[in-house]
Amino acid sequence: MSEIDLETARKVAHLARIKVPDDNLPALAQDLSRILTFMEQLAEVDVEGVEPMTSVTPMRLKRRADGVTDGNIQDKVLANAPDAREGFFAVPKVVE
């Protein structure tokens, strides 16, 4: 049985960059514990010598010439930005 404590729940929320108010941490910890407990059935499976799947259909990735296929669409790229200025995405100050 997986027990996720409040500190772990807080850490996971931060890893995921999702603000979770302290009041909601106990419910989150409980949900995560239940889901992880459900996943623990996987421990019963004998996976000795089994390769983890990387591609569900056996196919080689295609190659193409290393050339520019797109570009000159700055307006389109910025059109949906919550804050775009002078041709850039704008964000709060990152470096003091």
């Binding site: 996720i4 996971v12 929320a13 931060h14 890893l15 995921a16 960059r17 999702i18 603000k19 979770v20 989150l28 949900d31 995560l32 239940r34 889901i35 992880l36 459900f38 996943m39 623990e40 059935q41 996987l42 421990a43 019963e44 499976v45 996976v47 089994v50 390769e51 983890p52 799947m53 990387t54 591609s55 569900v56 259909t57 196919m59 990735l61 295609k62 193409r64 669409i73 389109k76 059109a79 949906n80 930005a81 919550p82 804050d83 995405f89 964000v91 709060p92 100050k93 990152v94």
Partner: protein
């Protein structure tokens, strides 16, 4: 011909080609049905002006002759597909206001074939859910009802399923990561096929779990599924996992002849506590195929029981990575910041405000199973189990099995809100018969096969060999004809 919106694709195509109906008339009939169906909450971004413009263009093309099968056919598009200049927000608050400057490959193929987009369809947020209750637009209501309750149409393609069942459109696109086409199809008495992984391009479809996601059609008949799947399929250089294989004429493969085919019944799908009705439906389906000349064989897929836990490691892991892009910088919602708050607060507040609870939960589960110290125990182990699940199918097909018959869902449609207080894992059990197919990358189709005692539709699932959607559709067509499912929901909305 009063109810043009109730036509199938095949019927409409034939009438269009004979000049007995116009695409504009079909489109107007659907738009009228959509206007009268607000209560179902299926169409969340109707595009009537665009639809009429495309319908007129389709009529001109039909007049000129040589129009493709989908030309002039009014369809709905799941909100997960990016459609140029039309809101595409995966039913999430975090993509509020997003107008893609490009068109997904699948919807571009449909558009270029002359199909008429009527608008965008409701769904579970980021395709995460089995009841269409996680949408920022509110839940979709199933057009089927047998008492006073509002029922779920299933999810995540719940808007697509409800719209097709209620004749708001002739067909719709869906996507399926763990059962999101097949489960809602079963809950609404419609047909839904998830093709082989790589058959349809994923380019321009909002990503949930990239190794599992596939698009497919949701239709009124198996024939329509064959017609529409062909239009949606094909190689696309912009999706590196898209298969460079020719797309057959699926409709021409509906011969109705399955004599000598071997159909497997996997014993592991006989779940404990399975409702007797589902079990009866399953045996009846097997009898129908036997009567049509197929041989029914008991088979074993020993790792079936581990499919759900493996899926609920792999899908959230991929989702946590895919959904990292929603950061409030490039598109969609950005939270207002207080004094002194910086970029980390911007990310955390934006994502807390923009994502609903189920999406947040899955992102966090994904972050956890991918984090240092747990990666091997959860994520790598799940990927090894996935290898074993795929191997189960390969071994069965190697013995000469042509297709596998299973129930599509563990129950008929349940009431909206009835699972509100359930453990998240209980909701995940809805996918128990469908996730294996995504994990193994196989094609699977849900065919309406009967009604339960309450009068709600039930479906059976057929699973095929990779790239053999044509043969699978043919078997489904036989099952559909034998079952003779013709029931429609009574209009109450």
């Amino acid at each position: 011909m009063s109810d043009l919106n109730a036509l199938t694709i095949a019927e409409a195509r034939d009438l269009l080609r004979k000049g007995e109906v116009t695409s504009v008339a079909l489109t107007e009939a659907c738009m009228g049905a959509i206007d009268g169906a607000g209560r179902l909450n299926a169409f969340v971004h109707p595009t009537p002006d665009l639809a009429l413009e495309r319908a007129r263009a389709a009529d001109a093309r039909l007049q000129a002759g040589d129009a493709p099968a989908m030309c002039g056919i009014p369809v709905g598009i799941k909100d997960l597909f990016c459609t140029e200049g039309v809101p595409s927000q995966a039913a999430s608050g975090i993509l509020g206001g997003f107008h893609p400057p490009y068109e997904s490959t699948v919807t571009a193929q449909l558009r270029d074939a002359g199909a008429v987009m009527l608008g965008k369809l409701n769904m579970d947020e980021f395709a995460m859910g089995s009841s269409n209750e996680t949408a920022v637009y509110g839940p979709v209501v199933n057009p089927w009802r047998v008492d006073g309750r509002d029922l779920t149409p299933g999810g995540s393609s719940g808007g697509s399923a409800a719209a097709v069942a209620a004749d708001l459109c002739l067909a719709a696109t869906g996507t399926d990561t763990g059962g999101s086409i097949r489960q809602p199809a079963a809950f609404t008495g419609t047909v839904g096929i998830k093709p082989t992984y790589g058959r349809c391009s994923r380019w321009g479809i909002v990503a949930f779990a990239s190794s599992l996601d596939q698009a497919g059609p949701m239709t009124k008949t198996v024939r329509d599924a064959a017609i529409m799947l062909e239009a949606m399929s094909g190689h696309d250089a912009r999706d590196s996992t898209s298969a460079d294989l020719p797309v057959p004429d699926f409709e021409a493969m509906l011969t109705g002849d399955i004599r000598g085919q071997k159909i497997g019944l996997p014993r592991e799908y006989r779940m404990e506590g399975m409702p007797a009705e589902i079990e009866k439906l399953w045996s009846r389906g097997a009898e129908m195929l036997r009567d049509a000349g197929a041989e029914i064989v008991d088979i074993s897929l020993p790792h079936t029981t581990y499919a759900l836990p493996a899926y609920y490691v792999i899908a959230p892991a991929e989702a946590s990575s895919n959904l990292a892009r929603y950061d409030g910088v490039r598109y969609g919602h950005r939270a207002a910041l207080g004094p002194g708050e910086g970029i980390t607060e911007m990310y955390e507040k934006t994502r807390a405000e923009g994502f609903g609870p189920e999406v947040q939960r899955r992102i966090m589960i994904g972050a956890y199973v991918l984090s240092a110290g747990f990666y091997d125990a959860y994520y790598n182990r799940a990927r090894k189990v996935r290898t074993l699940i795929k191997r189960d199918f390969e071994e069965v097909f190697a013995t000469g099995i042509d297709a596998i018959l299973t129930p599509a869902t563990p129950s008929s449609a349940f009431g909206l809100g009835e699972m509100a207080n359930a453990d998240p894992v209980e909701m995940y059990l809805n996918d128990v018969f469908t996730v294996t197919v995504n994990l193994a990358g196989l094609p699977g189709i849900s065919v309406p096969t009967g009604l339960d005692a309450k009068g709600l539709p039930l479906g059976l699932q057929l699973i095929g060999k990779p790239w053999e959607e044509g043969a699978l559709l043919n078997t489904a067509h036989v099952l559909e004809s034998a079952a003779g499912f013709v029931s429609k929901p009574q209009k109450w909305w």
